[in-house]
Amino acid sequence: MGSLIGHILKPGGEPAGEPHLTDQDLARLAEGRVSSGEREAFSGHLNRCERCYEIFSETLADASEDAAAKVGVAGRLKAWQAAAAASILIALLIGGGLYYRVYQPAPQMPTASLAVDPELKALLLENEDLNWRSKDRIARLAGLLRQRGVRVKDLDKVVMVAAYQPSKSFIAPREVLRLRIENGVAYLEVIEAPPADSKR
C-alpha cells in the first residue's frame, strides 16, 4: 500500500451528525450501481468518514476479486455476441437489403447490446407499455444508457419490440438488452443470452 500517501489522504474521524452509509449502499457503490447524484453524496461522506471509507475500501477489494473471476465468462460472452451480431448483419444485408431499400431507410445509429442489470430491469418492468409515454421514464433510460457507455442524445420515443417478460427459470439466465436508436427513437428488445461454453 502507498503507506505515506495513505496516511496523508485517508480520511480521519467522522463527519458530525451525518449518518453512516448502509451496508447495501457501500455494496452498490463498490459495484458501480449508483446514480450520479448518489455517487456525489456517497463520495462526500467517504472523503470525510474514516470508518465508512475503510469498510468501502475493503469491500471494493473483494468485489474486484469477484469481478476478475467473472472476466473470463464475460470475455467469451462478448465474443459470442460479436459473432452473432456479424451473422445477423450479413443475413440482413443478403435477405433484408431489398426490403429496407424499398420500404425503410437504413438505420442511422449502430445497435448496442447491454447486460440487463437491476437498474435497467426495474425500468423495463415499470409498466407493460410497448410505446413508452412517460417523458421521465424515457429520460431515465437515456441516463442509464449513457452511464453504461452508450452514446445517446435525448430520446423522443422508446418502443419495445416485444413485451418484456423476465425469465422464470430457477437458474435465472443472463438477459441482454439489444437496442437500436434511429432518429431519436430507441427500439428495445430483451433476449436471453445463450448458455456459455460447457467446457468451463
Binding site: G2, L4, I5, E31, N47, E58, S64, L77, G149, D197
Partner: protein, 277 residues
C-alpha cells in the same frame, strides 16, 4: 458457464430467487447462508487479513458471526437485492470487523498521561504501541499529518513519556526505537506504480512534510468524486479498473482523469519548489 456462475453464487449465498423481483433480489435463508462452509471460510479469511495475530483474528471471527446472527439475522435480512449477494456480505463483514477493531483499539485504551500530551502523542502511541512501528516511522507520519512540526530531536525528547507509557499489547515496544519497523508493518506495495508515493519516498523529511501539505490541499479542492478516485487509487492502492467501476467510469476515462489530476499535483508541487530529486 453462466449457469455455473449463478450456481456458484448460490453456493456461497444460498438463496431462492423470487420470480417477480429484480436480478439480484432474493428471498434468502440467512441461517443457511451463515452456516455454509464457504461463508464461514470467507469470514475467517477476512478476519485473518485485517487482524494482527491469530488470537485477535479468532476473537474477530466470533464477533462477526455474533453480529450477523444478532436480532434474528437482521443484517442479512436487510439485503435489498441492489448488489450481488456476495458483495453485500463482504460489506457487512467488513463493517463488523471495523467495529471490532475500533472497540479493541478505541480512544479509551490510550493512557491518560499520553492523551494529556495532545493528539500528536495519541497518534504516536497508536503507531508504536498498537501498530508496532518504530519511533522514527511515527515521527514521519505525525509530521505528514501535520500533527507535529518540530525537528526529530525535539520529537524524541517530547515523545519520551509516550515511550514510557504502559502498552499491554506490546510490552517490548520501548526497545523499538528507530531502525526497521517491527512486526505488524503494513503489507508491501503492489506492483502498481504510485507516482505520489515514489515522490515522497525520494524527498528529505522537510520537503516531504511540505509536499504532504500541498498534496492534501490540492486533494481537498477537488470535486468529491475526484477526491475519492485519488484516495482509492493512490492512498489505498486499488486498481484503476476497480476504482473506475465504483466511480461509474470507463477504465480508460478514469486513467485519463487520474493523469490530469497528477498533472495538477505536479504543477502545484513545482510551484512550491518541490521536484523529484
Amino acid at each position: 458457464m453462466i449457469a455455473v456462475t449463478r450456481l456458484s453464487a448460490a453456493w456461497f449465498f444460498p438463496t431462492t430467487f423470487s420470480n417477480d423481483s429484480g436480478y439480484y433480489r432474493a428471498v434468502m435463508d440467512p441461517k443457511e447462508t451463515l452456516a455454509s462452509p464457504d461463508t464461514l471460510g470467507r469470514v475467517e479469511a477476512l478476519c485473518r487479513r485485517r487482524c494482527r495475530g491469530e488470537n485477535e483474528a479468532d476473537e474477530c471471527y466470533l464477533f462477526v458471526l455474533e453480529g450477523l446472527q444478532a436480532d434474528d439475522y437482521a443484517r442479512l435480512r436487510k439485503f435489498e437485492g441492489k448488489s450481488r449477494p456476495a458483495t453485500y456480505i463482504h460489506s457487512c463483514v467488513h463493517a463488523l470487523i471495523s467495529d471490532f477493531l475500533r472497540n479493541r483499539y478505541g480512544r479509551k485504551r490510550i493512557p491518560g498521561a499520553v492523551a494529556g500530551l495532545g493528539t500528536w502523542a495519541e497518534a504516536v502511541y497508536e503507531m508504536i504501541c498498537w501498530k508496532k512501528r518504530s519511533l522514527e516511522a511515527a515521527y514521519d507520519l505525525v509530521a505528514l499529518k501535520g500533527l507535529f512540526n518540530g525537528s526529530i530531536e525535539e520529537f524524541y525528547s517530547r515523545a519520551e513519556p509516550v515511550r514510557k507509557a504502559p502498552c499491554p499489547e506490546n510490552p517490548n515496544f520501548i526497545s523499538m526505537n528507530g531502525g526497521e519497523d517491527g512486526p505488524g508493518t503494513e503489507p508491501a506495495d503492489t506492483d502498481r506504480p504510485n507516482p505520489l508515493e515514489s515522490l515522497l519516498e525520494k524527498l528529505d523529511h522537510q520537503r516531504r512534510t511540505r509536499a504532504a501539505r500541498i498534496i492534501r490541499e490540492v486533494t481537498d479542492r477537488l470535486s468529491e468524486p475526484d477526491q475519492l478516485l485519488v484516495r482509492l487509487v493512490f492512498a489505498s492502492d486499488h486498481s484503476v479498473a476497480a476504482a473506475a467501476r465504483a466511480m461509474g467510469l470507463d477504465p480508460r476515462a478514469a486513467n485519463k482523469r487520474l493523469k490530469k489530476l497528477l498533472t495538477r499535483f505536479r504543477e502545484k508541487l513545482l510551484a512550491e519548489g518541490i521536484r523529484e530529486p
